[in-house]
Symmetry: D2
Subunit: 345 residues, 4 copies
Amino acid sequence: MTKIGIVGGTGYTGVELLRLLVGHPHVQLHAVTSRAEAGTRIADLYPNLRGHLDLSFTEPNLEQLSACDLVFFATPNGTAMQLTPDLLAAGVRVIDLAADFRLQDPHSWQKWYEIPHTCPELLSEAVYGLPEWHREAIAQARVVANPGCYPTAVQLGLLPLLSAGLVDTDSLIADAKSGVSGAGRKASVGMLMGEVGESFKAYNVHGHRHLPEICQELNRVVDRPVHLTFVPHLLPMIRGIHATLYATLVKEVSNEELQEVFTQRYADEAFIDVLPFAGHPETRSVRGTNRCQLAVHRPQQGKQLVILSVIDNLVKGAAGQAIQNMNIMLGFPEKSGLNHVGLLP
Amino acid sequence: MTKIGIVGGTGYTGVELLRLLVGHPHVQLHAVTSRAEAGTRIADLYPNLRGHLDLSFTEPNLEQLSACDLVFFATPNGTAMQLTPDLLAAGVRVIDLAADFRLQDPHSWQKWYEIPHTCPELLSEAVYGLPEWHREAIAQARVVANPGCYPTAVQLGLLPLLSAGLVDTDSLIADAKSGVSGAGRKASVGMLMGEVGESFKAYNVHGHRHLPEICQELNRVVDRPVHLTFVPHLLPMIRGIHATLYATLVKEVSNEELQEVFTQRYADEAFIDVLPFAGHPETRSVRGTNRCQLAVHRPQQGKQLVILSVIDNLVKGAAGQAIQNMNIMLGFPEKSGLNHVGLLP
Amino acid sequence: MTKIGIVGGTGYTGVELLRLLVGHPHVQLHAVTSRAEAGTRIADLYPNLRGHLDLSFTEPNLEQLSACDLVFFATPNGTAMQLTPDLLAAGVRVIDLAADFRLQDPHSWQKWYEIPHTCPELLSEAVYGLPEWHREAIAQARVVANPGCYPTAVQLGLLPLLSAGLVDTDSLIADAKSGVSGAGRKASVGMLMGEVGESFKAYNVHGHRHLPEICQELNRVVDRPVHLTFVPHLLPMIRGIHATLYATLVKEVSNEELQEVFTQRYADEAFIDVLPFAGHPETRSVRGTNRCQLAVHRPQQGKQLVILSVIDNLVKGAAGQAIQNMNIMLGFPEKSGLNHVGLLP
Amino acid sequence: MTKIGIVGGTGYTGVELLRLLVGHPHVQLHAVTSRAEAGTRIADLYPNLRGHLDLSFTEPNLEQLSACDLVFFATPNGTAMQLTPDLLAAGVRVIDLAADFRLQDPHSWQKWYEIPHTCPELLSEAVYGLPEWHREAIAQARVVANPGCYPTAVQLGLLPLLSAGLVDTDSLIADAKSGVSGAGRKASVGMLMGEVGESFKAYNVHGHRHLPEICQELNRVVDRPVHLTFVPHLLPMIRGIHATLYATLVKEVSNEELQEVFTQRYADEAFIDVLPFAGHPETRSVRGTNRCQLAVHRPQQGKQLVILSVIDNLVKGAAGQAIQNMNIMLGFPEKSGLNHVGLLP
């Protein structure tokens, strides 16, 4: 069995990796580290894992991690870049679920994440782990930067239009809404249920860290820099992202052709499900799954397109996509361990 | 005391009218009608009213309603237009919380509401009851069309920009999110908590009945028809609308000037609260109140503006605004009965 | 492959059966019937099943159902008893997820369900499908009455104490709380999110249909009729039952002995997870799984015991337990298709 | 105007005091203190108060507080006891919303709250502020211990039965469920929406700090110590407590007599609303109000009574009851500032 390590297993992406990996047919958990919980049985912290996993958290330890074939980082931003060079040197492949390797430009990284990057030389080598757009590079990668949750939902919806040259690159809008688990599992007043339950708000409208990541990736498929307005909102629910994407047509095109842009691009993708034209995807339909559901709208037959894109932020937006990347890197069938049906209702 | 009637008191706008009117210093409830619940004590259906209201629902009855000074219709679309001509003939003033008098054009009404209008001659007389923009006409009106919930949130955010001629009228976007109480209190599968709890979706993206209403009203302040893309979404919570509004600047203007467009326009408005520039209003801050909170954003200092507008859909979006209209029509202080503090948390 | 039919596949227990059965290694869905939705693709009604299931709903048809090895009824009460005799005659085995075969006494059935039973002769043959207590009879059964959701949570918590003779049978209390999916997926005002969201209440305190079922089953292990006070409540969430069970000790016993009553009784049970003494199970830990988590408390070391029992009402409380019964009846490994990890958070 | 101070105005009980006091006709806020937020405008922290309150938080300062007629402590346990002796010496009356003066026995206080009491000499003087049972003493009190939220709901339901001598004092059970705002507004992992949303659990079954408080108060009306099993649970919603109370009849009594025990005891109480026999109160009916709704049940006409008691934990369970106490202490009409209608839906 292939040996897997997880650094930082106590957060929501950590427990979600565990939920998915205990059912994976081809890998074995070798180490799950946590400084704060070292010694604690994992199933004591996460009782949903009782009977599925008989491991305890350990102190992060390079020797133990070096015995792994692949290590996931489910840590706060800035941690993976500390350990990754040594792991690579030991021949271990790395998937970082945080942001350390997402931005190619270390100055942009420092601007948005407010600490200097400690291994900028790895940024150009790291592969952006959106499999539907970078599968071949991922297969060869030593370091994969697992995309952010918002960026996943936004890119999957906009990239087909941009790569087909159908829409104006200067007036893109992503009005995105996320469940609260996207904020992670750390003590804070702002994410108390008393603060965010039964209410709704936008946040970071002036600038969210996922903006440069999205723009960097959209720019790969167009010939001049896109301008994107990205407005994140917080939903009073736990899992799910719904991105409502606005783009202006610059070419004459029928609804059928529009729909085909998506259905053809994603025809062979196991985790992208394009609904019939003008459908209304719901976050619950993909809850617990690695799937993105998309629908294309053209209200009043005008030139303003509306693309609806839903994912589970903890799965396709984090742990599931990470495992999809792992499957590609290690040569497993891409759906291994990821064939869940959405938990509806 | 002024005598008030409510036709259709069993829905959410009905019970909200009752919640607000039992605390109103200048009016007295004379009749609250319901065909289905005639004879039932109101406080038996709505136990929050126990001790505050000692009336029973009655069959709708023209004679009883004609004894009122003013009648609210909190009925499904198509009911108010049946009774309004007779009430006006009897000298009773009418505020319709449904859509019967919102559209000036009966053909548009028939197209969107799918039944012919039975008193199209009243459409031009009816006044659109958005007090901040039509206060004087409301004061004189015999029939007031109380605005829809989405249209209230959207107009309050866009009208200052449009009337100032600052933004492109051809690329307006309203990405709006509503709590489930906006769908009313009628048996349906689609609004079961099992269907809409812990999930999020857009709906009616191809065309929602509030679209023609919003466009009609925005068109009043501009010289050529606006084009608006309106995308409603359903939030897994009960009360609150959050409209995220996108408009493209067509003039050079500083952030301070932008902010002043709003603060000056609404300086004397008791129910419009403009937050500091780049604020993030939350629906909970206006829960249970007749207030709209607004904030202006200009991400990355570009030409794309983002206006955030929140209301309680049952208060400023329905019953509260109706009472505000009543206060204006009957010469009461505009805040009478409406001075609540938002229920936070 | 074994052929399976589902009668009434459009409700929450129906879609949950489908979610679980599409991943089952040993069975094949042969027919899923619905009068109301005949002809509709199942995945159009339940988009979580897109890509997992390529069937349409059909009219219920005895011939088609007779070709099945086993048929699940996920219908309203009173339907299964109409079709079951013919299916049995055709050699088809039946699992009813409704209440038709749960009560042995047809008079009690008529009293609580308000219609006469149409095949009372089958009541004594039908086996009550709580596998942890009736596994051998289930294996042989032609008709299995799948237990109610509340009865499952309550019995699994109380039966070990009663069968050990440790508690007073005359003062049992089950204070039970259920998510809204327990009420099913049918149009109603009472289960609108506007009615049941962000609120909590007890209901049917004077008498709930699950009371006679629970008492009937508890009575099997004691020598005189139990007296149980059963108070159901409605939680503002979708999935999960938490039963808080009160029983008075009648023997001297240590905490360790108490704990062992549970751990020994359930030592070989794959789906019963006894937490350490004085633990606090959460419904989310079993969300989406067929597991019951239990914990034993003895506050202030008194004689009043408190047993906490949580299940997912749609899985161990309905569809999952039905599949567990099917596995037993058809000789499959009992965990086939049921090895999910709780969706936490 | 009477001058009021609030020490610790940033928590949920603090903001709720502010919501209620800004609408109170007879008092004026003189000082609202917070060490952490000194200098911050209150309405910046709580935007629901914008336009209603033009004060900033100040450092707690004995001189400023001594100028008040009455000071509320909305602080963590252990703070009020530090400042109260000095305030009393300055002639200021005190209402503590925390637990500092609730327990008469300083050893019990130290046992449950884990710090020594610093002014045990005041414990016997302090009056327990449950107005329906101690109104006269409250009127004269210098120090009022505002009851806990659970104790309020439980006592209001059990005291009539106990004082009438109708039920066994040895087998009382309070199965209580609270919204998350009861845990206050402080950074913690355990109260994140990701942890407590869409789930349900019991907590502190082995012993909750409200247990000794409830027992102390119940013991006042009976001749031998009660034995109460108290099991608190956490509801996935923000406001509301529902106590389901179990008591065993020891006398023959009709349902009508039982109902009268409650209706007569509370006939003159503005904030206690006894529903018709066998009613089902909902927490939403009292949301935002100082009301307790109660209902009496006797399932299957047995000797086990079930009393249902609902309050808003932040109002009748905290800030509203504190203001009710203030009204009594200062000679205002008891309903001053407290005449809200429940926010339903």
